[in-house]
Amino acid sequence: MTAVRVLVSRLLDLVLRRRRDERLSEELQAHLDMLTDECVAAGMSEAEARLAARRRFGVVDNVKADYRKQRGLPLVDGLWNDARFGVRLLRRDRAFTVAAAFVLAVGIGVNNMLFTILYAHTLRGLPIPAAERVLYLTTIDEKTRDGGISLVEFEELKRATRSFEGMAAFTSEAVVIAGDGRTPERVEANYASGNAFGVLGVQSLLGRGLEPEDDQPGRPAVGILGRGVWQSRYGADPGVLGRQILVNGAPTTVIGVVRDRSGFPSTAAIWLPLAYAPDLSAQRREPRTLSAFGRLHDDIPLQSAAAEVDAFFTRLSIEHPQSNAHVRAKTVPINEQYFGRVTEPAWLAFMTAGFLVVLISAANVANLMLARGLGRTREIAIRTSLGATRLRVFRQLLMEGVVLAGLGGLGGLGVAAVGVRLFRSAMPENALPYWFDYSLDLRIVAALVSVSVLTVLIFAVLPAIQVSKPDVAHVLKAGGRGGVTAGTTRRWTTGFLAAEIALAVVLLAGLSVNIRTVRAPLPSDKLIETRAVVTGVVSLPAATYREPGERAEFYRKLGKRLQAVPGIASTSVASALPLSGGSEQRLEIVDHGDTDPAGAPLVETLAVGPRYFETLGLAMVRGREFSGAGVNGSESEAVVNERLAQQFFVDRDPIGQRIALVAVDNKTPTPPRWLTIIGVAPDVRQRAARDPQAAAYVLYDSAPSPTATVLIRGHQPPERLTTSLREQVQALDPSLAVYRVRTMRDVVRDAGWLNRISAALFLTLTAISVGLSVVGVYAVAAHGVTRQTHEIGVRLALGAPASFVVRMILRTAFLQLTIGFLAGIGCTVLWEHLFSSGQPDVRATDPRSLAMVAATLVLFTCIACALPATRATRLDPLVAIRHE
């Protein structure tokens, strides 16, 4: 207790130093005056009295020193003094300070930017109170996929378990909102059980959230708007509360608005009671369309709750073998469900790259510190000979490092902010749900500070150990020039530089893999990236378009209407756009012998309307595409892409061949429907990250799914085409909405963002690390020339040719390069071992990659050495010899 008081008082002293110093002086002066008064009263003269007073008081300065020793914290005081001294030195040596702080800021900033991204995707968690007490509940089947849970199971689970304070379920569905005097809009709806808001702790912005009463059958339908749609559709009008709108045609009263960052793991624009969810059966155990989560009672450990849920599903699998035989429970904390794990290899590799950059920058500054320390040998020797202990000198050097790291950390904060902003702006709008939040918070700052401390350990502590131990006598005798320590320092410098190069090799090797796996461009890539084609998705509700024929009829009519609009050159429809995925089916070929359907190869299958390729602006390679819809026999036609033709019809003309496409999970085998190939289409990339696969196209009419994308090519600006599309859809059916309206150029850009960002990020990282290493090589070479000026002068004077001097410099540089390169190969092997990329065909350690890396490094080393070497050969021997 007393010890704490003393500490607090001492800490206060640090702050109030000046005031307390003044107080002491005044107090002592008063004391002396009183003593003097006493002596005068005893009959002394004024001067005698003053002397006597001082004698009896003791030495004032000793008293003050004693007093100070007890005050404040001597260690902190000392460090504070060292830091102030450090700041003075750094200000004097401005070029060094700016260079070192800049290098550190880049390293720390890049590291922090990567951490911010990593943190947003893994550790941040949903913005809900006590999220670790909320478990996500679902089922997994034999394929260990997230299988969801059915309403029946959910209700039974709720009754059967005691671990949970509350358990809620939800499902997402697209709905059309209308009936408010605006054009119908298709938005994502979240049907949630009445207690879902309560369990998560979701706060409403306006009005109220869902309540358990809302979720009873027979209650008036209510809905809660997300802030986004409230602003975009209703102009943030608070009067929307109590208003009735139509959701999928059903009157619904708006009762509240929730924040954008609601805490609910959903990007929904409107929340509706679960009781209104379509196709929700209160009797059947399948299909499992709900997601569920529950908040634990305070005293229940996670494991016992998970065990309880497990036991429940085990019981179900016995009681209901038809539906639940292979279904097991899966319970995870809700944040693990919606966020990645830091321990995933991709994230580990990501963060390792971040640390490589910081290590390189710290090693770079370490070399700068060593070079600077060498210039200060004399200063340090003098201080040591005057009685400074090695620890004292070390502390002084360390504090300089702390000040530098502080500057670097501050700069790094700025670099990270800019980096994160660039990263975000490269992403399409709404590419990520709100809970991947990149904003700065305390933990990110804490990470930045820790990394800054780490850099101090590398760039300040290690050099300080070296610099603080000069051989005093030797240094003073040698007139302050390097002396014995220079040799050791050179070894350290080489070590740091080699480490830098090694780390750069790891990143360069990674980059060479990236470059080599980059996809060869396809002729279609450029053609489809156009603003002349507008696309939009139309979804036909099952209630009004029950039969496939009705759906086919709708798209046929829409096509005819669009075709008639002036300015529209061509229109078509597709199950999936280029770069937007597709479904895989098994390919069977007539006369191919192999009749085992499970062994048949997988091919991408797309359903497209007539004139699909024409609308995209692609010419057929051979044959023709689907002609007019409704033509008899066109349902049994197929188009394949070049890759499929090359893969499966090597020695035959594919046109006229017959193939069949079978669903992958074909549970009830039906005889294959044979299709005749009528044309070969150019390869079109269906997925951004992959080269095109073998693909087959079937006519849309033969398998019209409820949701399809309409494409229009026209001579008008995209906005006009969009309007025409909307008008024609509305004219056919006023209750329908067109959504995800984009030009093909947008489609391409949206699909490629992830690749683009990761490529840019990796390139930047590598460029920074290689750049830093080159600067490091340059700095060391330049410093070497300065140090060896005398020697070079002598050699030149004795007739050594310039080439000899150049060789001398290059020899050192390449020695460092070789050590670094070899170490780098070791690290790369380790890297590949730890984070294998799943691309076994291209390895970072194969000879071609390594040759690329080596060539790059040799080139950059030569560039880095060019300037110092030129300077060395131009030295005037007479001046150089006299150089001290």
Partner: protein, 112 residues
């Protein structure tokens, strides 16, 4: 065997200051020093300045507190007074001191 200018025994200055303040609070540094010298009746060589570090120690521990005031001859001075924890501490220390002294005395008597 007892020179008139004996050193202040180690660690006893704090106790003396505390005791002085227990009798005469509030008192300024000069007053404390004078009082100790008076009680010692010239048997102690006190560098009056040394009581200031002692006062700081006591204040940091919360055993005394201080405030500016005016001395009897109208000088601005800092006045120290003992606190309740200070009185408890004084009792404890005084008891300890008493025990220590009697122990040392007994030892010395034994030997003689």
């Amino acid at each position: 065997m007892s020179p008139p200018d004996a050193e202040v025994p180690y660690g006893t200055l704090d106790l003396m200051v505390l005791k002085t303040l227990a009798v005469l609070s509030p008192l300024h540094g000069y007053g404390i020093a004078r009082r100790i010298e008076q009680v010692a009746q010239g048997g102690l060589a006190l560098n009056q300045g040394t009581i200031y570090p002692a006062l700081l120690r006591l204040e940091q521990r919360g055993w005394v507190r201080s405030a500016w005031g005016t001395s009897e001859n109208n000088r601005r001075a800092r006045f120290y007074s003992i606190t309740a924890p200070g009185r408890r501490q004084l009792q404890a220390e005084a008891a300890l001191w008493g025990r220590t002294v009697s122990l040392v005395n007994r030892l010395l008597e034994d030997e003689s």
